[in-house]
Protein backbone atom coordinates (compact mmCIF):
# COMPACT_ATOMS: atom_id res chain seq x y z
CA UNK A 1 0.00 0.00 0.00
CA UNK A 2 2.75 2.34 1.07
CA UNK A 3 4.89 1.65 -1.97
CA UNK A 4 1.85 2.01 -4.19
CA UNK A 5 1.28 5.50 -2.77
CA UNK A 6 4.90 6.37 -3.31
CA UNK A 7 4.77 5.28 -6.95
CA UNK A 8 1.60 7.30 -7.37
CA UNK A 9 3.24 10.38 -5.89
CA UNK A 10 6.27 10.02 -8.14
CA UNK A 11 4.01 9.80 -11.19
CA UNK A 12 1.97 12.80 -10.04
CA UNK A 13 5.15 14.81 -9.50
CA UNK A 14 6.50 13.90 -12.91
CA UNK A 15 3.30 15.18 -14.50
CA UNK A 16 3.60 18.58 -12.82
CA UNK A 17 4.71 21.52 -14.87
CA UNK A 18 7.47 23.81 -13.57
CA UNK A 19 7.82 27.21 -15.21
CA UNK A 20 10.47 29.85 -14.49
CA UNK A 21 9.45 33.43 -15.27
CA UNK A 22 11.70 36.43 -15.97
CA UNK A 23 10.32 39.97 -15.51
CA UNK A 24 12.19 43.24 -16.10
CA UNK A 25 9.99 45.62 -18.07
CA UNK A 26 10.41 48.58 -15.68
CA UNK A 27 12.52 49.27 -12.57
CA UNK A 28 11.98 45.85 -10.97
CA UNK A 29 13.89 42.72 -11.94
CA UNK A 30 12.25 39.53 -10.72
CA UNK A 31 12.60 35.82 -11.39
CA UNK A 32 9.97 33.42 -10.07
CA UNK A 33 9.35 29.69 -10.26
CA UNK A 34 5.85 28.20 -10.26
CA UNK A 35 4.88 24.52 -10.10
CA UNK A 36 1.20 24.04 -10.94
CA UNK A 37 -0.07 27.10 -9.09
CA UNK A 38 2.43 26.89 -6.25
CA UNK A 39 4.98 29.72 -5.99
CA UNK A 40 8.30 28.02 -5.19
CA UNK A 41 10.43 31.18 -5.27
CA UNK A 42 10.05 34.78 -6.36
CA UNK A 43 13.15 36.92 -5.64
CA UNK A 44 13.17 40.53 -6.84
CA UNK A 45 15.36 43.66 -6.88
CA UNK A 46 14.23 47.27 -7.38
CA UNK A 47 16.23 50.03 -9.02
CA UNK A 48 15.69 52.96 -6.68
CA UNK A 49 16.60 56.46 -7.87
CA UNK A 50 17.32 59.49 -5.65
CA UNK A 51 14.37 61.73 -4.63
CA UNK A 52 13.28 63.99 -7.47
CA UNK A 53 14.50 61.59 -10.16
CA UNK A 54 12.73 59.00 -12.28
CA UNK A 55 14.29 55.86 -13.76
CA UNK A 56 15.69 56.04 -17.28
CA UNK A 57 15.89 53.07 -19.67
CA UNK A 58 19.67 52.67 -19.98
CA UNK A 59 20.41 53.09 -16.26
CA UNK A 60 17.58 50.69 -15.41
CA UNK A 61 18.99 48.14 -17.88
CA UNK A 62 22.41 48.52 -16.25
CA UNK A 63 20.87 47.81 -12.85
CA UNK A 64 19.12 44.68 -14.12
CA UNK A 65 22.28 43.56 -15.91
CA UNK A 66 24.29 43.79 -12.69
CA UNK A 67 21.95 41.61 -10.59
CA UNK A 68 20.06 39.29 -12.95
CA UNK A 69 22.37 36.27 -12.70
CA UNK A 70 22.45 36.51 -8.89
CA UNK A 71 18.64 36.71 -8.80
CA UNK A 72 18.44 33.67 -11.11
CA UNK A 73 20.69 31.70 -8.79
CA UNK A 74 18.53 32.75 -5.82
CA UNK A 75 15.34 31.70 -7.61
CA UNK A 76 16.69 28.18 -8.25
CA UNK A 77 18.19 27.82 -4.76
CA UNK A 78 15.07 29.01 -2.92
CA UNK A 79 12.92 26.65 -5.00
CA UNK A 80 15.38 23.82 -4.34
CA UNK A 81 15.42 23.00 -8.04
CA UNK A 82 18.02 22.25 -10.68
CA UNK A 83 17.71 23.56 -14.25
CA UNK A 84 16.76 20.04 -15.33
CA UNK A 85 13.58 20.27 -13.18
CA UNK A 86 12.31 23.28 -15.17
CA UNK A 87 9.90 22.53 -18.02
CA UNK A 88 9.64 25.92 -19.66
CA UNK A 89 11.31 29.36 -19.60
CA UNK A 90 8.91 32.34 -19.70
CA UNK A 91 9.97 35.98 -20.03
CA UNK A 92 8.27 39.35 -20.52
CA UNK A 93 8.04 40.09 -24.25
CA UNK A 94 6.42 43.48 -23.56
CA UNK A 95 5.09 46.06 -23.13
CA UNK A 96 7.76 47.98 -21.25
CA UNK A 97 11.05 49.84 -21.56
CA UNK A 98 13.20 48.52 -24.44
CA UNK A 99 16.65 48.29 -22.88
CA UNK A 100 15.60 46.55 -19.64
CA UNK A 101 13.37 44.13 -21.59
CA UNK A 102 16.26 43.15 -23.86
CA UNK A 103 18.59 42.54 -20.90
CA UNK A 104 16.15 40.11 -19.35
CA UNK A 105 15.19 38.45 -22.65
CA UNK A 106 18.87 37.76 -23.43
CA UNK A 107 19.30 35.71 -20.26
CA UNK A 108 15.97 33.91 -20.75
CA UNK A 109 16.85 32.94 -24.33
CA UNK A 110 20.32 31.79 -23.32
CA UNK A 111 19.25 29.57 -20.41
CA UNK A 112 16.36 28.12 -22.43
CA UNK A 113 18.89 26.95 -25.00
CA UNK A 114 21.52 25.84 -22.46
CA UNK A 115 18.93 23.77 -20.60
CA UNK A 116 17.14 22.56 -23.74
CA UNK A 117 13.74 23.98 -22.66
CA UNK A 118 11.01 25.72 -24.67
CA UNK A 119 10.80 29.51 -24.47
CA UNK A 120 7.60 31.53 -23.96
CA UNK A 121 7.15 35.26 -24.50
CA UNK A 122 4.51 36.62 -22.11
CA UNK A 123 2.45 39.80 -22.23
CA UNK A 124 3.21 41.74 -19.04
CA UNK A 125 -0.41 42.86 -18.49
CA UNK A 126 -1.74 39.31 -18.78
CA UNK A 127 0.92 38.25 -16.26
CA UNK A 128 -0.58 40.66 -13.73
CA UNK A 129 -4.11 39.42 -14.31
CA UNK A 130 -3.26 35.70 -14.21
CA UNK A 131 -1.23 36.15 -11.02
CA UNK A 132 -4.11 38.03 -9.40
CA UNK A 133 -6.52 35.24 -10.36
CA UNK A 134 -4.18 32.56 -9.04
CA UNK A 135 -3.60 34.22 -5.66
CA UNK A 136 -7.17 35.42 -4.99
CA UNK A 137 -9.10 32.63 -6.76
CA UNK A 138 -11.28 35.26 -8.39
CA UNK A 139 -13.23 33.45 -11.08
CA UNK A 140 -14.30 35.95 -13.70
CA UNK A 141 -13.59 39.42 -12.35
CA UNK A 142 -13.70 42.91 -13.76
CA UNK A 143 -10.02 43.82 -13.50
CA UNK A 144 -8.58 47.20 -12.55
CA UNK A 145 -4.95 47.17 -13.69
CA UNK A 146 -3.14 50.14 -12.16
CA UNK A 147 0.63 50.67 -12.23
CA UNK A 148 3.36 53.13 -13.18
CA UNK A 149 2.85 52.40 -16.86
CA UNK A 150 -0.74 51.19 -17.17
CA UNK A 151 -4.27 52.15 -16.14
CA UNK A 152 -6.98 49.93 -17.59
CA UNK A 153 -10.32 48.41 -16.70
CA UNK A 154 -10.41 44.96 -18.27
CA UNK A 155 -12.94 42.14 -18.47
CA UNK A 156 -12.76 38.74 -20.14
CA UNK A 157 -15.43 38.42 -22.75
CA UNK A 158 -15.76 36.04 -25.68
CA UNK A 159 -12.34 34.38 -25.32
CA UNK A 160 -10.36 37.61 -25.02
CA UNK A 161 -9.37 40.15 -22.42
CA UNK A 162 -11.11 43.34 -23.48
CA UNK A 163 -10.34 46.86 -22.34
CA UNK A 164 -13.46 48.70 -21.21
CA UNK A 165 -11.81 51.87 -19.99
CA UNK A 166 -8.31 53.24 -19.73
CA UNK A 167 -6.25 56.37 -19.25
CA UNK A 168 -6.15 58.66 -22.24
CA UNK A 169 -2.73 60.04 -21.26
CA UNK A 170 -0.45 59.00 -18.36
CA UNK A 171 -0.86 56.05 -15.98
CA UNK A 172 -2.13 56.66 -12.45
CA UNK A 173 1.16 55.40 -11.00
CA UNK A 174 3.07 57.75 -13.25
CA UNK A 175 0.97 60.65 -11.96
CA UNK A 176 1.75 59.65 -8.34
CA UNK A 177 5.47 59.04 -9.04
CA UNK A 178 5.90 62.40 -10.76
CA UNK A 179 4.06 64.24 -8.01
CA UNK A 180 6.46 62.57 -5.55
CA UNK A 181 9.37 63.97 -7.56
CA UNK A 182 7.94 67.49 -7.47
CA UNK A 183 7.93 67.62 -3.68
CA UNK A 184 10.99 65.33 -3.36
CA UNK A 185 9.36 62.36 -1.66
CA UNK A 186 11.72 59.37 -1.36
CA UNK A 187 11.57 56.61 -4.01
CA UNK A 188 12.51 54.03 -1.35
CA UNK A 189 10.80 51.55 -1.22
CA UNK A 190 8.55 53.25 -3.77
CA UNK A 191 7.13 56.75 -4.21
CA UNK A 192 3.57 55.40 -4.10
CA UNK A 193 4.11 53.71 -0.75
CA UNK A 194 5.51 56.90 0.76
CA UNK A 195 2.62 58.98 -0.61
CA UNK A 196 0.21 56.47 0.93
CA UNK A 197 1.86 56.82 4.36
CA UNK A 198 1.91 60.64 4.18
CA UNK A 199 -1.72 60.72 3.02
CA UNK A 200 -2.78 59.08 6.28
CA UNK A 201 -1.65 62.26 8.08
CA UNK A 202 -3.47 64.59 5.69
CA UNK A 203 -6.57 66.30 7.05
CA UNK A 204 -7.49 69.08 4.63
CA UNK A 205 -8.88 68.22 1.20
CA UNK A 206 -7.46 70.45 -1.55
CA UNK A 207 -9.79 70.49 -4.51
CA UNK A 208 -8.23 69.11 -7.70
CA UNK A 209 -9.64 68.63 -11.21
CA UNK A 210 -11.73 65.44 -11.56
CA UNK A 211 -11.39 64.10 -15.08
CA UNK A 212 -13.46 61.04 -15.90
CA UNK A 213 -14.35 60.94 -19.61
CA UNK A 214 -17.03 58.29 -20.00
CA UNK A 215 -15.26 54.96 -19.50
CA UNK A 216 -11.83 56.62 -19.62
CA UNK A 217 -9.77 58.75 -17.25
CA UNK A 218 -7.17 61.49 -17.71
CA UNK A 219 -4.41 62.23 -15.23
CA UNK A 220 -1.99 64.60 -16.98
CA UNK A 221 -4.09 67.68 -16.28
CA UNK A 222 -4.33 66.83 -12.59
CA UNK A 223 -0.56 66.41 -12.48
CA UNK A 224 0.04 69.78 -14.19
CA UNK A 225 -2.39 71.45 -11.81
CA UNK A 226 -0.80 70.04 -8.67
CA UNK A 227 2.75 70.62 -9.98
CA UNK A 228 1.85 74.26 -10.52
CA UNK A 229 0.02 74.69 -7.22
CA UNK A 230 2.13 72.57 -4.87
CA UNK A 231 5.06 74.88 -4.16
CA UNK A 232 2.89 78.00 -3.87
CA UNK A 233 0.49 76.35 -1.46
CA UNK A 234 3.25 74.80 0.60
CA UNK A 235 5.26 78.06 0.83
CA UNK A 236 2.24 80.12 1.83
CA UNK A 237 1.28 77.49 4.42
CA UNK A 238 -2.16 76.98 2.86
CA UNK A 239 -1.75 73.25 3.21
CA UNK A 240 0.85 70.62 4.06
CA UNK A 241 2.58 68.07 1.85
CA UNK A 242 0.49 65.45 3.68
CA UNK A 243 -2.71 67.26 2.67
CA UNK A 244 -1.61 67.20 -0.96
CA UNK A 245 -0.84 63.46 -0.83
CA UNK A 246 -4.24 62.84 0.74
CA UNK A 247 -6.11 65.00 -1.79
CA UNK A 248 -4.31 63.53 -4.78
CA UNK A 249 -5.01 59.94 -3.67
CA UNK A 250 -8.69 60.66 -2.92
CA UNK A 251 -9.20 62.29 -6.33
CA UNK A 252 -7.34 59.71 -8.42
CA UNK A 253 -8.81 56.72 -6.64
CA UNK A 254 -12.39 58.07 -6.81
CA UNK A 255 -11.99 58.30 -10.56
CA UNK A 256 -10.73 54.71 -10.76
CA UNK A 257 -13.58 53.41 -8.61
CA UNK A 258 -16.08 55.26 -10.80
CA UNK A 259 -14.91 53.73 -14.08
CA UNK A 260 -14.59 50.27 -12.50
CA UNK A 261 -18.18 50.47 -11.28
CA UNK A 262 -19.35 51.53 -14.73
CA UNK A 263 -17.57 48.57 -16.36
CA UNK A 264 -19.11 46.20 -13.79
CA UNK A 265 -22.59 47.49 -14.56
CA UNK A 266 -21.87 47.04 -18.25
CA UNK A 267 -20.65 43.41 -17.90
CA UNK A 268 -23.05 42.41 -15.13
CA UNK A 269 -19.99 41.41 -13.11
CA UNK A 270 -20.04 40.81 -9.35
CA UNK A 271 -16.27 40.59 -8.81
CA UNK A 272 -13.47 43.15 -8.89
CA UNK A 273 -9.79 42.24 -9.02
CA UNK A 274 -7.17 44.96 -8.52
CA UNK A 275 -3.73 44.22 -9.97
CA UNK A 276 -0.55 46.22 -10.71
CA UNK A 277 1.79 48.13 -8.41
CA UNK A 278 -0.75 50.79 -7.37
CA UNK A 279 -3.09 47.92 -6.46
CA UNK A 280 -1.30 47.29 -3.18
CA UNK A 281 -2.37 50.77 -1.97
CA UNK A 282 -4.70 50.03 0.96
CA UNK A 283 -6.66 53.25 0.56
CA UNK A 284 -7.52 52.30 -3.04
CA UNK A 285 -8.56 48.84 -1.82
CA UNK A 286 -10.68 50.42 0.92
CA UNK A 287 -12.48 52.79 -1.47
CA UNK A 288 -13.08 49.98 -3.98
CA UNK A 289 -14.35 47.83 -1.09
CA UNK A 290 -17.00 50.42 -0.20
CA UNK A 291 -18.27 50.48 -3.79
CA UNK A 292 -18.30 46.66 -3.96
CA UNK A 293 -20.22 46.41 -0.70
CA UNK A 294 -22.89 48.79 -2.00
CA UNK A 295 -23.32 46.65 -5.09
CA UNK A 296 -23.16 43.32 -3.27
CA UNK A 297 -19.97 42.51 -5.19
CA UNK A 298 -16.73 40.90 -4.03
CA UNK A 299 -13.33 42.60 -4.03
CA UNK A 300 -10.10 40.71 -4.64
CA UNK A 301 -6.64 42.21 -4.19
CA UNK A 302 -3.12 41.01 -3.45
CA UNK A 303 -0.23 42.42 -1.44
CA UNK A 304 3.04 43.92 -2.62
CA UNK A 305 4.67 40.50 -3.28
CA UNK A 306 2.36 39.80 -6.20
CA UNK A 307 0.86 43.22 -7.09
CA UNK A 308 4.19 44.81 -7.86
CA UNK A 309 6.04 43.43 -10.91
CA UNK A 310 7.54 40.02 -10.13
CA UNK A 311 8.84 36.93 -11.89
CA UNK A 312 6.18 34.52 -10.64
CA UNK A 313 3.43 36.41 -12.51
CA UNK A 314 5.28 35.83 -15.79
CA UNK A 315 5.78 32.18 -14.84
CA UNK A 316 2.06 31.84 -14.09
CA UNK A 317 0.89 33.37 -17.39
CA UNK A 318 3.59 31.27 -19.10
CA UNK A 319 2.26 28.16 -17.37
CA UNK A 320 -1.24 28.82 -18.72
CA UNK A 321 0.11 29.41 -22.24
CA UNK A 322 2.44 26.38 -22.12
CA UNK A 323 -0.36 24.08 -20.92
CA UNK A 324 -2.53 25.21 -23.82
CA UNK A 325 0.21 24.41 -26.34
CA UNK A 326 1.96 27.73 -26.95
CA UNK A 327 5.72 28.21 -27.35
CA UNK A 328 7.76 31.12 -28.75
CA UNK A 329 10.37 30.19 -31.35
CA UNK A 330 13.71 31.97 -30.91
CA UNK A 331 13.44 34.10 -34.08
CA UNK A 332 10.04 35.34 -32.81
CA UNK A 333 11.34 36.13 -29.33
CA UNK A 334 12.01 39.86 -29.97
CA UNK A 335 10.83 42.22 -27.31
CA UNK A 336 8.24 44.94 -27.88
CA UNK A 337 7.92 48.28 -26.09
CA UNK A 338 4.18 48.44 -26.80
Amino acid sequence: MCSFMLVFQIIAKAAMTVVIGFEGSANKIGIGIIRDGEVLSNPRRTYITPPGQGFLPSETARHHRAVILTVLQEALEQAGLKPADVDCVAYTKGPGMGAPLVTVALVARTVAQLWGKPLLGVNHCIGHIEMGRLITHADNPTVLYVSGGNTQVIAYSERRYRIFGETIDIAVGNCLDRFARVIKISNDPSPGYNIEQMAKKGSQYVELPYTVKGMDVSFSGILSYIEEAAHKMLESGQCTAEDLCFSLQETLFSMLVEITERAMAHCGSQEVLIVGGVGCNLRLQEMMGVMCKERGAKLFATDERFCIDNGAMIAQAGWEMFRSGHVTELPDSWITQR
Partner: protein, 98 residues
Protein backbone atom coordinates in the same frame (compact mmCIF):
# COMPACT_ATOMS: atom_id res chain seq x y z
CA UNK B 1 38.12 35.02 -25.19
CA UNK B 2 40.12 36.81 -27.86
CA UNK B 3 38.00 38.60 -30.40
CA UNK B 4 39.73 39.69 -33.58
CA UNK B 5 38.07 42.80 -34.91
CA UNK B 6 38.51 45.30 -37.68
CA UNK B 7 36.95 48.62 -38.53
CA UNK B 8 37.21 50.71 -41.67
CA UNK B 9 35.49 53.09 -44.02
CA UNK B 10 34.49 51.50 -47.28
CA UNK B 11 35.60 54.05 -49.86
CA UNK B 12 33.29 52.74 -52.58
CA UNK B 13 30.03 52.90 -50.61
CA UNK B 14 31.10 55.61 -48.16
CA UNK B 15 29.83 53.40 -45.32
CA UNK B 16 31.49 52.84 -42.00
CA UNK B 17 32.09 49.15 -41.47
CA UNK B 18 33.08 47.02 -38.52
CA UNK B 19 33.72 43.30 -38.14
CA UNK B 20 34.01 41.13 -35.09
CA UNK B 21 34.82 37.42 -34.77
CA UNK B 22 34.12 35.76 -31.43
CA UNK B 23 35.44 32.25 -30.77
CA UNK B 24 33.35 29.90 -28.58
CA UNK B 25 34.30 26.55 -26.99
CA UNK B 26 32.13 24.73 -29.53
CA UNK B 27 29.73 25.42 -32.39
CA UNK B 28 26.85 24.64 -30.01
CA UNK B 29 27.68 27.66 -27.84
CA UNK B 30 28.28 29.83 -30.89
CA UNK B 31 24.79 28.96 -32.20
CA UNK B 32 23.22 29.62 -28.79
CA UNK B 33 24.84 33.07 -28.71
CA UNK B 34 23.70 33.76 -32.26
CA UNK B 35 20.10 32.83 -31.45
CA UNK B 36 20.10 34.83 -28.21
CA UNK B 37 21.56 37.94 -29.81
CA UNK B 38 19.70 37.96 -33.16
CA UNK B 39 15.98 38.42 -32.41
CA UNK B 40 15.95 42.09 -31.37
CA UNK B 41 16.13 44.61 -34.15
CA UNK B 42 18.32 47.71 -34.06
CA UNK B 43 16.45 50.43 -32.13
CA UNK B 44 16.77 53.00 -34.93
CA UNK B 45 15.04 52.42 -38.23
CA UNK B 46 17.66 53.19 -40.87
CA UNK B 47 21.31 54.05 -41.25
CA UNK B 48 22.74 50.80 -39.93
CA UNK B 49 22.76 47.11 -40.70
CA UNK B 50 24.17 44.24 -38.67
CA UNK B 51 24.67 40.67 -39.86
CA UNK B 52 25.36 37.76 -37.51
CA UNK B 53 26.58 34.36 -38.68
CA UNK B 54 28.24 31.24 -37.30
CA UNK B 55 30.90 29.16 -38.95
CA UNK B 56 32.27 26.31 -36.91
CA UNK B 57 32.70 27.54 -33.35
CA UNK B 58 33.06 31.18 -34.41
CA UNK B 59 30.37 33.86 -34.21
CA UNK B 60 30.91 36.62 -36.77
CA UNK B 61 29.26 40.01 -36.79
CA UNK B 62 29.44 42.54 -39.63
CA UNK B 63 28.22 46.11 -39.32
CA UNK B 64 27.65 48.73 -41.98
CA UNK B 65 26.50 52.23 -41.02
CA UNK B 66 26.07 55.71 -42.48
CA UNK B 67 27.59 57.48 -39.49
CA UNK B 68 30.42 56.56 -37.13
CA UNK B 69 28.33 57.66 -34.15
CA UNK B 70 25.51 55.21 -34.91
CA UNK B 71 28.03 52.43 -35.52
CA UNK B 72 29.74 53.11 -32.20
CA UNK B 73 26.46 52.95 -30.26
CA UNK B 74 25.44 49.70 -31.92
CA UNK B 75 28.83 48.01 -31.40
CA UNK B 76 28.98 49.10 -27.75
CA UNK B 77 25.49 47.82 -27.05
CA UNK B 78 26.26 44.53 -28.84
CA UNK B 79 29.35 44.03 -26.68
CA UNK B 80 27.26 44.62 -23.54
CA UNK B 81 24.74 42.04 -24.69
CA UNK B 82 27.45 39.57 -25.72
CA UNK B 83 29.15 39.77 -22.34
CA UNK B 84 25.83 39.07 -20.58
CA UNK B 85 25.21 36.02 -22.78
CA UNK B 86 28.75 34.71 -22.19
CA UNK B 87 28.47 35.28 -18.42
CA UNK B 88 25.13 33.43 -18.43
CA UNK B 89 26.80 30.50 -20.23
CA UNK B 90 29.63 30.42 -17.70
CA UNK B 91 27.25 30.41 -14.73
CA UNK B 92 24.40 28.25 -16.06
CA UNK B 93 26.10 26.13 -18.75
CA UNK B 94 27.44 24.01 -20.26
CA UNK B 95 24.57 23.21 -22.66
CA UNK B 96 22.80 19.91 -22.02
CA UNK B 97 23.43 17.23 -24.62
CA UNK B 98 20.80 17.31 -27.34
Amino acid sequence: MAAPSSGDTNHESGKHEFALDIPFPSSREAVIALQSLSPDREPRKGGISKQLSVSGSKLSVRWSADEARILRVSVASFLDHLSLVVETMVMFGPPVSQ
